[in-house]
C-alpha cells in the first residue's frame, strides 16, 4: 500500500467533497423547510461565479490591491447570488406553495433552464478565464506538491463556513425558527413564526453558500462558462441525497463521501468510471438506508 498516494487521493477527495458539501447545503436546507428540490441551485452557483468574475475585473481595472479584490468580489458574488435566490423563490416557488409537489419541481427545472440561457445570452457560451483571487506564491510552499494553496483555502473556508452555519442554526432566533418550520410548518405558523421570512432566509443563506463555493472553485479551476452549474448542481444534489436530504450534517458528510469515492475510484481504478462509482454508491446507500446516511425516515402521519 502506497500511503503517500492514498493521502494525495484523500486530500483531493476532501477538497472536492468540501465544495460538494457547501453547495449541497443549499439543496438540503430548502428541502428541509419546504420539501422542494431546488434544481435552480446549480445556476445560482454559476451566477455567483460570473458576478465574482465581473466584479474582480472591474476592481482590477480600478487598481485595487489583491486582497481587497478577493474580499469585495466574494462579497459581490454572495450578495448578488443571494438576491437571485431570494427572487427565484418569490417568482417561481411562492405562488406554487399550495400546489401539488410536482408543480414547484417543474418550476425549478424551468428556472434552471431560464437562468442558463439568460447567462448564455448575456455572456456568450465561451469559456472565460477566471483569475485566481488567492495569492499562490510564497504561501505554504512545502505542501504544494500535494495540495495547492488554493485547495488548502478551499478546505479551510468550507470548514469555517459550515461551522458558522451550524452555530447559526443552533443558536440564532432565525435558526430556531428555521428548525421549527422544518419540523412542522403549520405549527410554527401558529406559534407566531413568520414562515415567509424563514423561507426567504433559507434561500438567501443557501445561495450565499453556493456563491462562496463558486468563488473557491472558479479560482481553483481558472475558467467558467454558463454551463458549469449543471454538473456541480447534480453532484451536490447527489451528495445531499447521500447524506440524507433535509439534514445539514448529512449534506456535509454526503459531500465528503462523494468526493472521496470519486477520488479513490479514479485513483485506484480508472477515471473512465468516475461517475459510475459516484452513482453506484448512491444507489447502494439508497437501497440499504433509504433515508440517506444521516437522514431520519419520516413517520407518515395518517
Amino acid at each position: 500500500m502506497d500511503w503517500g498516494y492514498f493521502k494525495e487521493l484523500l486530500m483531493g477527495g476532501v477538497v472536492k467533497g468540501s465544495i460538494y458539501a457547501l453547495i449541497a447545503l443549499g439543496y438540503t436546507m430548502v428541502y428541509g423547510i419546504i420539501e422542494l428540490i431546488n434544481f435552480a441551485h446549480g445556476e445560482i452557483y454559476m451566477i455567483g461565479a460570473f458576478t465574482a468574475l465581473i466584479a474582480a475585473g472591474v476592481l482590477t481595472v480600478a487598481g485595487f490591491p489583491a486582497w481587497s479584490i478577493l474580499i469585495l468580489a466574494s462579497a459581490a458574488a454572495v450578495v448578488w447570488s443571494a438576491s437571485y435566490g431570494y427572487t427565484v423563490e418569490k417568482i417561481a416557488y411562492k405562488p406554487l406553495r399550495g400546489a401539488p409537489r410536482l408543480s414547484p419541481l417543474i418550476s425549478a427545472l424551468g428556472m434552471s433552464i431560464f437562468l442558463q440561457n439568460y447567462v448564455l445570452l448575456a455572456q456568450t457560451s465561451n469559456f472565460m478565464p477566471f483569475k485566481n483571487l488567492f495569492p499562490e506564491e510564497g504561501f505554504l510552499e512545502n505542501i504544494s506538491e500535494v495540495l495547492s494553496a488554493t485547495e488548502v483555502i478551499i478546505v479551510f473556508t468550507s470548514a469555517v463556513v459550515m461551522i458558522l452555519l451550524s452555530l447559526f442554526i443552533k443558536y440564532s432566533t432565525t435558526g430556531k425558527a428555521m428548525r421549527a418550520t422544518a419540523q412542522d410548518r403549520n405549527m410554527a405558523m401558529l406559534v407566531g413564526v413568520n414562515v415567509d421570512k424563514v423561507i426567504s432566509a433559507t434561500f438567501i443563506i443557501g445561495s450565499s453558500l453556493a456563491a462562496v463555493g463558486a468563488v473557491l472553485i472558479a479560482s481553483n479551476m481558472g475558467q467558467i462558462n454558463f454551463y458549469i452549474g449543471f454538473i456541480v448542481g447534480l453532484k451536490a444534489f447527489t451528495a445531499a441525497v447521500l447524506g440524507g436530504i433535509g439534514s445539514i450534517p448529512g449534506a456535509m458528510l454526503g459531500g465528503l463521501v462523494l468526493g472521496c469515492t470519486e477520488s479513490f475510484g479514479t485513483g485506484y481504478v480508472s477515471s473512465d468510471y468516475e461517475d459510475v462509482f459516484a452513482f453506484t454508491l448512491l444507489v447502494l446507500i439508497l437501497i440499504f438506508r433509504p433515508a440517506g446516511l444521516l437522514g431520519k425516515s419520516d413517520i407518515q402521519k395518517v
Binding site: G13, N126, P129, E145, G222, S263, S271
Partner: protein
C-alpha cells in the same frame, strides 16, 4: 343535417387549402428552379456537340443548419473558381462548367438523398461532403455510379484507409495523421520514453488517443504508462493529475478540446508538475491560451499547417474578399484546393471518365493554396498535413520541421 353538411364543406375547403398550399410550396420551391435549370441545360446541349456538353460540378455539404458555417465556404470556393475558369479559359478541358449544389445539413440520411439526386442529375464530379458521417453515407452511391468525390473536411481515417471507397479523395489530413505526428514528435524530437495518454471519451478525442496509443506501442520506443478517459465538464481533475504524477509519465498526450486541456494543465502546474503536455487541434485554439494564461506556456499542440502566406492562398483570400466582402471561413482553402485539383485532373486527362480523372489525381501534381499536392493510393493528399505548434510568450508558434 345542416350542421353536418356545413362541417363537410368546411372540411373540404380545409383540404383544398392545404393541397393548394402544398402545391404552391413545391411549385415555387425547388421544383421550379430545377425546371429552369433543365431548360438552360437543354438549350446549351442543342448548340454544342455531345462531347462538349458542359461539365457539371456538384458541391454537397451542410449549407443550412448549425454546421452551415463549415459548408458554405466550399460553395463559395467553387463559385469563385467556376466563374473564373468560365470567364478566362472558357471552362475546363474546353467545356463550360456548371455548378450544382446540394444540402445535407451534415445528416447522413439527407446526404444519401442529396447523393441520389446528384447522380440523377448526371453530375461529373463532386466536391464534398463536409462531415465524416454524411460523407460515408453518400460515398457508396457515388461509387456505384463511378463518380469521384473529394472532400475538403471529412477527417475520419476509415474513409480512405478501409479501401472501400476508391472514388474518394480529400484535401485534409485524417485524424490518425495528427496522432502520428504527435507520437513522432514525442519520440523523435523530444525523445520521451514514458507517456500517459488521456482523452475526453468523445468520438474525436478518443479516436485520436486510440491511434496515439497504438502508434506508441508499435514503435517500441516508449511505454504507455496510463491510458484513461476523463469526464468532460468535470469540476476537478485532481485525482487524474495525481495519477499522472504517480505513473512517472514524462509527457501527457491528450485527445480532446481546450476546456478540459486547460483544466488539466493548470492543475498539473499548480502541483509543481512540469510534465510535458501534447495535444491536438481541438486545443490549438487561442481560447486555450486565454484561459490557461501563464500555465499554457510550453504546451505543444498539433494543427493544420499554416499556409496563409502561400501566394495562391493570398489570391484565394483576395478573390473571396472581392466577391463576398468578408474573410473566408472554415475549410475554404481546402475546398478551393479540391476544386483546383479536380479541374487540373480533368484538364490533364482530357475527360471526366472515372479512371482517367482518378489516375490524374494520383499522378499529377497541382499547385494549390495548401501547397503543391497530389493524392496517394488511398486518396489522402500528399503534402497536406499538420505541424506542431508550441505556446511561446502567449502565442502558438509553428515549430520548424
Amino acid at each position: 343535417m345542416k350542421t353536418g353538411s356545413r362541417r363537410m364543406v368546411k372540411g373540404v375547403a380545409l383540404i383544398a387549402i392545404i393541397c393548394l398550399a402544398a402545391f404552391g410550396m413545391f411549385g415555387c420551391g425547388q421544383g421550379e428552379e430545377k425546371v429552369v435549370e433543365k431548360e438552360v441545360i437543354k438549350e446549351v446541349v442543342k448548340e454544342v456537340p455531345k462531347a462538349l456538353e458542359p461539365l457539371k460540378l456538384a458541391v454537397a455539404g451542410a449549407h443550412t443548419g448549425d454546421l452551415a458555417s463549415y459548408g458554405i465556404p466550399s460553395v463559395r470556393a467553387a463559385e469563385i473558381l467556376v466563374e473564373h475558369v468560365n470567364a478566362t479559359q472558357g471552362g475546363v478541358g474546353g467545356r463550360k462548367v456548371i455548378l450544382v449544389t446540394e444540402d445535407d445539413a451534415c445528416k447522413p440520411e439527407m446526404a444519401t438523398n442529396a447523393a441520389t439526386k446528384l447522380v440523377g442529375d448526371d453530375v461529373d464530379l463532386v466536391v464534398g461532403h463536409i462531415c465524416s458521417g454524411a460523407t460515408k453515407a453518400a460515398l457508396g452511391i457515388y461509387k456505384d455510379s463511378g463518380i469521384i468525390a473529394i472532400s475538403p473536411s471529412a477527417t475520419n481515417p476509415d474513409l480512405t484507409q478501409s479501401g472501400d471507397y476508391p472514388n474518394f479523395f480529400r484535401t485534409i489530413a485524417s485524424d490518425d495523421a495528427q496522432a502520428r505526428l504527435e507520437v513522432d514528435f514525442a519520440l523523435d524530437v523530444l525523445g520521451l520514453t514514458k507517456i500517459a495518454v488521456l482523452h475526453d471519451k468523445g468520438d474525436y478525442g478518443k479516436g485520436l488517443a486510440e491511434f496515439a496509443k497504438k502508434f506508441l506501442e508499435e514503435s517500441g520506443k516508449a511505454e504507455v504508462v496510463l491510458y484513461e478517459g476523463i469526464t468532460p465538464g468535470g469540476m476537478d481533475y485532481s485525482a487524474v493529475v495525481q495519477k499522472i504524477n504517480r505513473s512517472g509519465a514524462q509527457a501527457v498526450i491528450f485527445g480532446g478540446y481546450h476546456p478540459e486541456a486547460s483544466k488539466i494543465v493548470m492543475q498539473m502546474r499548480k502541483k509543481d508538475m512540469d510534465t510535458i503536455f501534447i495535444s491536438d487541434d481541438g486545443v490549438k485554439d487561442d481560447t486555450f491560451i486565454k484561459v490557461a494564461g501563464d500555465y499554457a506556456e510550453g504546451v505543444y499542440a498539433t494543427g493544420p499547417k499554416d499556409t496563409s502566406k502561400n501566394p495562391l492562398a493570398v489570391e484565394a483570400d483576395k478573390l473571396h474578399k472581392e466577391k463576398y466582402g468578408e474573410d473566408y471561413g472554415a475549410f475554404y482553402l481546402n475546398a478551393y484546393s479540391a476544386v483546383l485539383a479536380l479541374f487540373n485532373a480533368v484538364d490533364k486527362s482530357g475527360s471526366t471518365d472515372y479512371e482517367a480523372v482518378s489516375n490524374a489525381l494520383r499522378n499529377e501534381y497541382v499547385a494549390t493554396p495548401l501547397g503543391i499536392i497530389k493524392f496517394d493510393d488511398r486518396g489522402d493528399a500528399i503534402g497536406v498535413g499538420f505541424s506542431v505548434y508550441q505556446v511561446q510568450n502567449g502565442k502558438y508558434v509553428e515549430l520548424e520541421g
